[in-house]
Amino acid sequence: MKAEQNGAPLVSVRDLKTYYSIRGSFGSRLIGREAGSVRAVDDVTFDLRQGEVLGLVGESGSGKTTLGRTLLGLVKATSGSVIFEGRDVTKLSERDLREHRRRMQIVFQDPHASLNPAMTIGQSVGHPLTIHGVVNSREQVRARVAEALEHVGLAPAEQFFDKYPGDLSGGQKQRAVIARAIILNPVLLVADEPVSMLDMSVRAKILDLMLALKRDFELTYLYITHDLATAKFFCDRIAIMYLGRIVEIGPSEAIYENPKHPYTQALLRAIPEPDPLRVIPRDLPRGEVPDASRPPLGCNFHPRCPKAFEVCGWEARDLAELLERRWAFMGAEQYERERAVFGDLDALAKDALTVSLKTRDRRQGEELLAILELMRDEDPDEPFWKGVRRLHADEQHVEIEWWEPIDPRLLPADGVSVECHLYDEEALVEAERRRSAEAAVPAS
């Protein structure tokens, strides 16, 4: 079932970025202020080899769907290239894109929304043939549609031709969608969560069908999913995405047996398995995927990462989160007492490396510093404190300085590639240098 690992690249994605710009308020547009952008795909590089199944795995907001759509030219790339059959898809005109899509098709998640309810199954499945002008006569269309329907198991085809999507079950609809996708004989199929909306007892049948089609038509798949279990079964290689970036990519066996990135490790541990004897560990990453319009400094995963250290990009916003977590689980009186020392917390809302926190009243600087030091003493393993370079109090302020962030790079490690400082020799050396520098100059 698994394809050869060393096929020629069918698609080469290089430094691809797809940003969505945010429309600001009328006022901010009037004065020409930029409202910013969402970095849905943020500098991604990989190859899709002929005949393989590459799984693009990530949670909602990871950019996996945008990446799939950029490959098809359904979304315009901001920069970078997607080379497919010798041409850069990101630079194709609308007319050339149409030609391109004959070779590359997509299956969407929701089969109920993918079929026009006013068109019969025969019309829907045959539609690409007329759009692309591949066949001339009605008889030819009908013959090709019948062939495609039989291929996806909607047999005898005669029974399905004149049915409407409403007459079909979810699994049957997804089969019709797949028939429509293969009717032009594409070489690449982008399948975006093709089984996620289907019942458990049906998922296996659709995956089986996709495997059979891959064999029969020598297809290459990009399988986009949030589900690590189906990806493990289905894919030759896996790319794990987090907040617009590929954080780990490699052969499936390597990723599942020996996950390297702390995010991949967390994902694999968090899956609820149908085995009552296995319990999900409680030490999972905290929080949720951050806002992609304001990604964290350094490594995108650092605020949630249990293994983050000096170089990972600690910053002011991380202190705001740390305080919120502390206060959530604290009794009301103690919270009131602590909160009364802190003035405005707005200074912590920015991605700053130095912050001067003002206390609410005069002469509370030492008190605020004491709270921060207490937090550090109570939880010395909290990775956040590794990122703090200096803490200093004066009468009404506490100044906090964090270490400069280093952006992680996707580097090879044991047969996979991973974007994490834990596997980057230079970053480890720099972290060690910072640790010894800190030891030499004790915090004031």
């Binding site: 047999a155 019942d199 458990m200 007892s201 998922r203 296996a204 089986d208 609820p272 919120e324 009301a332």
Partner: protein
């Protein structure tokens, strides 16, 4: 249409019962029936006894009194259940004032913040609006909103389906701790057997409006009694899956369900008796029960009808 048809189920105080089934099996309808929340036009028969009172025959006013302080509900989509124009603070004030009108303002705030805190929502965000929270945080707020009234029973209908896997695990941890932290019993409705295995003491498996098997989670997963339970477990794709398996056919139409056992057209073990006679619930050892002729009772099976049932082969694409 009989969405729920002749179901018997007990939930003990402080227990976590999982109700699992595929879409359209009636599990959500059953959950709502327990809370007296069925839509207009629904006809129900039988009884739902909660601490000695019958919910099916209770008046609308009695039900309002029960919901909240006694029975709570958590839905799948946390965003659509919070009012976008109301601050989190106001959601809690409304719920508490309605059911405990004697609480003063300070008490309302204290109770709300304490419950929110236990769900990991800090007091700094008490005055924010729903849109300012992430999906997981909104679900924590929904759970806190149900728990602030200290219900004895909470019904959670697919509470993690819209969430990411790590956040889902966080919420499952919270639900699994409800008993210890709040003494609340939980009916957890889901299609995901992994979630059942993670969070539940007991499991009820639903198929076509019937509970076909029920028992302690460990035994049920290790040794399923009903063929549907077994096939559902086999077709679940997990990290351990090495080959694909699916159940032939599709869940039946509940307007005209199959005769006899409703699973017989898809059942690999079907016998001649199965389409003829409705199976009788059988108690098995270890507090388990099932309704399947494979488990008898033998005296009720007409002689000579235990031969395998001969059927037309199901078409490949005849699926749900």
């Amino acid at each position: 249409m009989r969405a729920v048809d002749g179901v018997s189920l007990d939930i003990g105080a402080g227990e976590v019962l999982g109700l699992v089934g595929e879409s359209g099996c009636g599990k959500s309808t059953l959950g709502r029936g327990i809370l007296g929340l069925l839509p207009e036009g629904a006809v129900s028969d039988g009884e739902v006894r909660y601490a000695g009172r019958d919910i099916v025959t209770a008046s609308a006013k009695e039900l309002r009194g029960l919901r909240g302080p006694e029975l709570g509900l958590i839905f799948q989509e946390p965003m659509t259940r919070l009012n976008p124009l109301m601050r989190i603070e106001d959601h809690f004030a409304e719920a508490l004032k309605r059911h405990e009108p004697d609480l003063n303002k300070r008490e309302v705030q204290r109770r709300s913040l304490e419950t929110l805190g236990r769900m990991g929502i800090p007091p700094t965000r008490f005055r924010q609006y729903p849109y300012e929270f992430s999906g997981g945080m909104r679900q924590r707020i929904m759970i806190a909103l149900a728990l602030v009234l200290r219900p004895k029973l909470l019904v959670a209908d697919e509470p993690t389906t819209a969430l990411d896997v790590i956040v889902e695990a966080q919420i499952l941890g919270i639900l699994a701790d409800l008993k210890r932290e709040f003494g609340t019993a939980l009916l957890l409705i889901t299609h995901n057997l992994g979630i059942i295995a993670e969070a539940c003491d007991r499991v009820a498996v639903m198929y076509a409006g019937r509970i076909v098997e029920e028992g302690p989670a460990r035994q049920l997963f290790a040794d399923p009694a009903h063929p549907y339970t077994r096939e559902l477990l086999r077709s679940t794709i997990s990290l351990e899956t090495t080959e694909l398996h699916s159940i032939a056919g599709a869940p039946p139409n509940l307007i005209e369900p199959p005769s006899g056992c409703r699973f017989h057209p898809r059942c690999p073990d079907a016998m001649e008796v199965c389409p003829r006679k409705f199976p009788i619930p059988v108690r098995l050892e270890g507090g388990r029960r099932t309704e399947c002729w494979l488990h008898g009772p033998e005296q009720e099976i007409p002689p000579g009808t235990t031969r395998p049932l001969e059927r037309e082969r199901l078409a490949v694409a005849d699926e749900g």
